[in-house]
Subunit: 323 residues, 2 copies
């Protein structure tokens, strides 16, 4: 943030848009920002990069892109049960397009304001369009939702509905379509892809209740798989319980389930709950999450098929970087 | 950091290379890292991006690139008087080249180990080679070296020597050469460009002594200019005192001065010292820094020419992103 024109760029488009927080002693415009962490809390940090033509289409609405760039980071804070505080932006641009910058910064600002998170630093450079955002939040250390805490007998929940973003992506790529989906359905799905909702409120409320959590960026199977790996347990899923949106409910069930299990970008939370908190979760968050299975001592993920047989699931989530 | 193969990439090449710090409650491998800030300190953060063909040559030694990617961030911590603690890495790669990753991560690890800074998170994506690193350090809030504290009568110092990196860049671009420079000189200059020394030790010692500081990434004029702007003061420089390396001392003085004033990438510190600390600075840091001028109430930067006339300096530093 020391180059003259990058500084003026950031200053002009981003500085005034963000919330002002009391714990920011020094924000944009020095060698570093100076930030005050509250007592009895630890800082949760995560950095994510979005690259043109890999993570988003070149013609995406820049306002939606700005929103999503911050949303994916906030989703990581949600998955730790952390409260958002600050973010930094490393923006690589092929050219200075004021319309694009205006839209992008407005999309960022909209979500930043809503979640009371302040832009405290950044770097703007010339090059192929690449957006890296680091988010910072607070959480009491003992309440943080790690991936490693799931135990045999815990229930598995997910927030919202699954597969919407994945279906929208396949529709946009023209690799899939379904006659049951009307214009409104497709518009809804696209909105879920481009402007996902980071589940911060429920994430913070789950801190201290859930035994493990992750956000679903790469698909339920891949991300639940991380919880299982880190916790040394397995899972049994009831596919009939996978929560679908009204739009995806119109699609044949097998196809909708495949999206729900394997496609990414939903940014819902998957979390596990120990027996003593079942009833509390059901009472407090009934409308926000769905029970989809249980943690077992098997290796891997199994599900019950139409004939009530136990089948090992194959395949993992969507991978941005196949090697 | 939630995509399968990016995770294994980071894990394989980066995870084991870094120092392990007690204040990292949770490092790589969850939705967020969890970090503990010491009491009575604030967190200093800075993010910087290096883009291929903008900030480095495509054929640069990946070990030098890894080193430099972290060095530029550490230099920002040095300029705040902060002590390094953690860093994150957002790495966009066109392909998985194991030799490159090995060299890059070794260069990173070399400097990370030396400065006791731990890699706590990251994201690896496919795309044009782009490296964003965010550094995090600690400093007591009241001792942090801001750009805004310079006052009329303060002395202006710089660490090390100036213009070496800029000369090396012009040599590599074949836009400049000088017969006085032999192979060892050119090798020295290139080493200063590719492996600059973040001035962390003196930066931390200056915290509480210096009235303002900045690191010289864009050239002395541009970066000193930031101190002057933020502090609402001017400066008078004695060009004869600009510190030059042995190599640059062989070049005609006017050319060497131009590099020292206007070229970037030296990553030395420029700082100002109030009268009551002159003698302490001279005693403690005599071999590490050079007095080059004074803070005045003029606007802008003036220097004394060969005829002892006061001349306004024109032109600013090197700009990575001319608009």
């Amino acid at each position: 943030m020391t180059v003259l024109s990058e500084f003026s760029l950031i200053q002009h488009y981003f500085e005034q848009l963000s919330t002002q927080r009391d714990d920011v002693l020094l924000g944009i415009g020095d060698d570093c920002a100076l930030l005050q962490c509250p007592a009895q809390h630890v800082i949760a940090v995560s950095i994510d990069t979005l690259v043109e033509n890999i993570h988003f289409f070149a013609d995406v609405d820049p306002e939606h892109l700005g929103y999503k760039s911050l949303a994916v980071g906030l989703s990581d804070l949600a998955a730790m049960g952390a409260q958002p505080a600050w973010f930094t932006l490393a923006l690589t641009l092929p050219e200075v397009n004021e319309n694009w910058l205006k839209g992008f910064s407005q999309g960022l600002a909209k979500l930043a304001k809503k979640q009371n998170i302040q832009l405290v630093g950044g770097d703007t450079t010339r090059g192929p369009l690449t957006i890296s955002i680091q988010v910072h939040g607070f959480v009491p250390a003992e309440k943080a939702l790690r991936r490693s805490g799931a135990q045999v007998g815990d229930m598995i929940y997910v927030t919202g509905t699954l597969g919407d973003a994945g279906a929208a992506l396949q529709l946009q790529l023209q690799k899939w379509n379904n006659v049951a989906l009307n214009v409104e359905d497709k518009s809804y799905l696209r909105q879920r892809l481009e402007q996902p909702t980071p589940r911060l409120e429920i994430g913070q409320e789950l801190a201290g209740l859930a035994s493990a959590a992750i956000d679903i960026s790469d698909g339920l199977l891949a991300d639940l798989g991380h919880i299982l790996d880190k916790s040394g347990v397995g899972a049994r899923l009831d596919l009939a319980k996978l929560p679908l949106s009204l739009a995806m409910s119109k699609v044949d069930r097998k196809t909708a389930e495949r999206f729900a299990l394997q496609s990414g970008d939903d940014y819902e939370l998957c979390f596990t709950v120990p027996p003593q908190y079942f009833s509390e979760i059901e009472q407090r968050f009934k409308d926000q999450c769905t029970l989809i299975g249980t943690i077992t001592d098997d290796q891997g993920i199994y599900f019950i098929d139409d004939n009530d047989a136990l089948i090992a699931l194959k395949g993992t989530g969507y991978d941005h970087f196949p090697v």
